[in-house]
Amino acid sequence: MTTKINLNGIAKTTDSAPSSPLLYVLRDELKLNGAKFGCGLGQCGACTVLLDDKPVFSCLTPLAAVADRRVRTIEGLGSADAPGPLQAAFIKHQAAQCGYCIAGMVMRAQALLEKLAHPTEEQIREHMEPNLCRCGTHMRILAAIHEVAASGVLHAKKGLK
């Protein structure tokens, strides 16, 4: 059985079982290894991707649930040569130590900054709360998000998706 999804703006057809978590389909079949397996229980956020512009834990998102819906992953935001605004800010602020949580952090922040032009410190902290970082780089992560939030660039691009 095949499932059609819109992945980073491109129509894709997958052969994985509809009962597979989206994370496994992304990594194993589609070879997009940005989203990480952390806990598999929706408790750490390392697997966060955007589903119809909202952050979800892809480890608990059934492939069957995303048929004909829009999925975006870290690979859709930019590349090593041409990083997106949040990716560039995370690099500038050296927000990664081990880096395992970072793809999920960037995707969750992306959803917020597309929705709100200038979120407050409190709104950013509340929004990022589901994602864990064990290295403790939270202050750098927040600094990177603040920098992009101040520019308003992601909110302005909203209509262009």
Binding site: D52, F57, T61, P62, A64
Partner: protein
């Protein structure tokens, strides 16, 4: 002539009612007190006050999700509109810092603010009115010893007629019986204590009793109600669950928010169990024993249906990816953390699917220090149709119970009302 007599009689009754209501509506202001400093440093009084406030669940309503303790601002969505809880920290300007004990006692017993305006019955003064003087004094001492917070909650969102507070006097005439009550004659001390805690301080009936059209509590006390889109289950038919509740299980559930035989406390009940965790164990034991003593003979225990003829393949597929990593029998959470099977959960076994829908959409948020009970929200992951499929699968294949007839409407309604 007879008509005239009738009219005269009716007029007299109307006038008497009017005067009575007027006397209830017109309450004088009680002079403010000047010092916001703690009234007492008596540690025994403060400890007692802490228990009273925990057992009275003051904090559950008087603290918003992001606000300071007791500073209010939590929206209470009633059928009549949204009421924001008030600031009960000792801030003289925005809280109760200028309230004397007499003003506080009048609020508790009669639902009247210090300046004389009538409080909305979202504040459960019809239950608190039965509190002992000693408990009122202890609660006052404890609240006045909290950190003052200068914060004014948002204005209530109520239709015009209800903004006219003196009209509450009529409601009070119907539902308020001021003052302490005799408890259960002949019962032992623990049951008496439980009766007091459930019906007065704990005001369990505020949620667990159905409300009539004007927000009065229905006759079937503690027979089950709804609050904020959640079902507050009947507390008088605890024997008709798959595993019949025992006083021990109930006590443990009330203190930990989790019962290995029945499931976790969710929605508004979660905060209640967090407060009861701070209350004296003997009091929670008394609550559990009293509740078990008021059980009515209900329908026979839930009968599982051997088979169903509902197509649940779609639900099974979605369950496998979204739910099974925690809720399958072999998942570590079930196998080693001894979480109850969904087959035992009240949310699955109730005639009302509201709590299962609420939990699937909103999850069970992290709460410190009870963070071991957690579930992520699925509102952004699953469509209404997918939520319905999973709920049907859980109800039929795991719960082994007949389908919910009103499931689709309830899912659409829940998402619109609570997760817009």
């Amino acid at each position: 002539m007879r008509l005239k007599t009738k009219i005269a009689g009716l007029c007299t009754i109307a006038v008497i009612c009017g005067i009575a209501a007027l006397t209830w509506a017109l309450q004088p202001a009680i002079a403010p007190i000047s010092s916001a400093a703690p009234m007492t440093n008596d540690p025994q009084m403060l400890t007692r006050g802490q228990s009273v406030v925990a057992l009275g669940d003051c904090m559950v309503c008087h603290t918003s999700n992001s606000g300071a303790p007791y500073a209010g601002g939590l929206p209470l969505r009633t059928p009549f509109g949204t009421i924001y809880s008030t600031n009960i920290t000792p801030d003289p300007e925005t809280g109760i810092g200028s309230w004397s004990l007499a003003a506080f006692r009048r609020a508790i017993r009669h639902g009247v603010s210090r300046d004389g305006h009538l409080l909305y019955p979202a504040f459960p003064y019809i239950h608190y009115t039965q509190m002992t003087d000693k408990d009122i004094e202890a609660a006052y001492a404890y609240l006045m010893s909290r950190t003052p917070v200068n914060y004014t909650p948002p204005d209530n969102e109520l239709p015009l007629p209800l903004r006219f507070r003196p009209s509450l006097a009529f409601w009070n005439m119907l539902y308020l019986r001021p003052g302490e009550r005799q408890t259960v004659p002949g019962a032992d001390h623990q049951i008496q204590r439980g009766h007091y805690l459930v019906n007065s301080l704990g005001h369990c009936a505020s949620c667990h009793t159905a409300l009539n059209a004007i927000g009065g509590e229905a006759k079937a006390m503690l027979g089950g109600g709804t609050v904020d889109g959640w079902e507050a289950p009947s507390l008088t038919t605890l024997g008709s669950t798959k595993v019949a509740w025992t006083a021990k299980q109930l006590e443990s559930y009330l203190r930990t928010g989790l019962s290995a035989e029945h499931g976790a406390a969710k929605g508004p009940m979660r905060a209640v169990t967090e407060r009861l965790a701070e209350a004296p164990q003997a009091d929670v034991e008394a609550i559990a024993r009293y509740i078990m003593s008021i059980q009515v003979t209900a329908d026979a225990p839930l009968q599982q249906t051997a088979s169903h003829n509902m197509p649940t393949q779609q639900g099974a597929t979605l369950f496998a990816a979204a739910c099974a990593s925690c809720h399958s029998a072999s998942a570590p959470m079930s196998a080693s953390a001894q979480r109850p099977s969904l087959a035992l959960s009240h949310s699955v076994n109730s005639d009302n699917p509201a709590n299962l829908i609420q939990t699937m959409l909103g999850g069970v948020p992290w709460a410190v220090p009870h963070s071991a009970i957690y579930m992520p929200p699925f509102a952004d992951v699953l469509t209404d149709e997918q939520i319905i499929s999973i709920a049907q699968y859980i109800r039929a294949d795991i719960g082994k119970l007949p389908p919910w007839q009103d499931l689709p409407q309830k899912v659409v309604h829940a998402r619109k009302e609570i997760h817009p």
